[in-house]
Symmetry: none
Subunit: 226 residues, 2 copies
DNA sequence: TGTCGATTGTCACAGATTTGTCAACACTCG
DNA sequence: CGAGTGTTGACAAATCTGTGACAATCGACA
């Protein structure tokens, strides 16, 4: 379970954040002000920090810098009111990795926290190489070879393919694909997905007319089989 | 079929939302104001709530909190005008899970609702593999094997079968089947059900003429026996 | 035990829905 | 502007689903 440290003074927001992260399976520590924040940080050794910039006592900015000094690759996600004058330069200077302005939905916050954690895990991960049939994919290089030949894929195609490779054998609905691969700012038609499947088939199947790996599950979605 | 509760006072928006969700296969309840919202919530026990923050009578914020108090893990998706000052009222505090600002596209709203429902279902993961006799069903793969042989089922057949598997040994009336499997904006003939049972028998019974698993209970309905 | 109305089994087929496929359009970025 | 990419609409093809017709079966009742 991933540990997360929340630095936030407002008790109501504290509670809300704790609930949000706990229900998402995080192990949550909370520090109410700058003074104890660093102690808690050293004691808990969190995987990621969520920091409200507006704090009593030691300013959020100082905390941010201090944490980065002690542990450069712990991601910090900054919360700030929309009214705050936030320039990205400042955030960069502070060493923050991402920021969310209020109001934000728990969903968005979670998505960003997860993304940060994922990046972290990925960075320390080994090269991502998959293979099936006569196809070899290297996601860190964004390269795909088919029986030795380099086959160019577009970014979207890589993303789609990766999701399928991570979820083999399972039927995946178009809706799930939209949410997981396209993300939550884009809501294209389901037709879009069919087209992308079509292209993957044309590039990766021996006989795109009779697909073996990218199977249609009529009325439900698609399924990837090695 | 998933139940959704829409809390919204503007009749035009009400209609639009109802249409959107119904055509996506949701079972929609609508509450027009705060006073009846909670009653409807308790009566309908929806899977997810879509709430307009601007309401006459009891404010949307109160409703939000109240619902969360009664049922912490029912997701709430808040609708709000872009002009609303959301700053001070942290959605987090309210316990809302996500929000969409007007104007929003039906597609976006739908996608968010579905994402919320899917997260919910993921959390309460249920076993997806069943077996009886020489039959093995894997619902996440949407595959059914009978003595090792792959037997193709249509979506409706999978749905029907799943309902029977979740309700073994119990006599199920046609009406109940229609409501639970077909959903009650569809009004097929009861003949339809007989036909589907027939098809399941033909695919899954050793002797479809003398069914062992899909038994007829004359004058009442059907019963599934392992 | 036999009859009769009601219920269920069975089948084929048309209409509806879903998917495949392609070409055109939109958008981004240099 | 132009190349590369992603999205959409249109239409055909594939697949599924509901329905009516008729046969078979059941159960109540005399």
């Amino acid at each position: 379970m991933e540990k997360i440290l929340v630095i936030e003074d407002d008790p109501a927001v504290q509670r809300a954040l704790r609930r949000t992260f706990e229900s998402a399976g995080f192990d949550v520590s909370v520090a109410a002000d700058g003074a104890v924040a660093m102690e808690t940080f050293r004691a808990a050794v969190p995987r990621i920090v969520v920091l409200d910039l507006r704090l009593p006592g030691k300013s959020g900015q100082d905390i941010c810098r201090e944490i980065k000094r002690e542990s450069a690759n712990t991601p910090i996600l900054v919360l700030s009111a929309a009214s705050d004058v936030l320039d990205k330069v400042l955030l960069l200077e502070l060493g923050a990795d991402d920021y969310v302005t209020k109001p934000f939905s728990p969903r968005e916050l979670l998505a960003r926290v997860r993304a940060a954690v994922r990046r972290l895990n990925q960075a320390t991960d080994k090269v991502e190489i998959f293979s099936f049939d006569d196809v070899e994919v290297n996601f860190s290089k964004m390269e795909l070879h088919r029986s030795g030949q380099l086959v160019p894929l577009t970014p979207q195609e890589f993303k789609t393919l990766r999701f399928f490779l991570n979820n083999p054998e399972r039927v995946i609905s178009r809706t799930e694909l939209l949410n997981e691969v396209w993300g939550y700012n884009n809501y294209p038609t389901t037709r879009t997905i069919d087209t992308h499947i079509l292209r993957l088939r044309q590039k990766l199947e021996k006989d795109p007319t009779d697909p073996v790996h990218f199977r249609t599950v009529h009325g439900t979605g698609y399924k990837f089989v090695r």
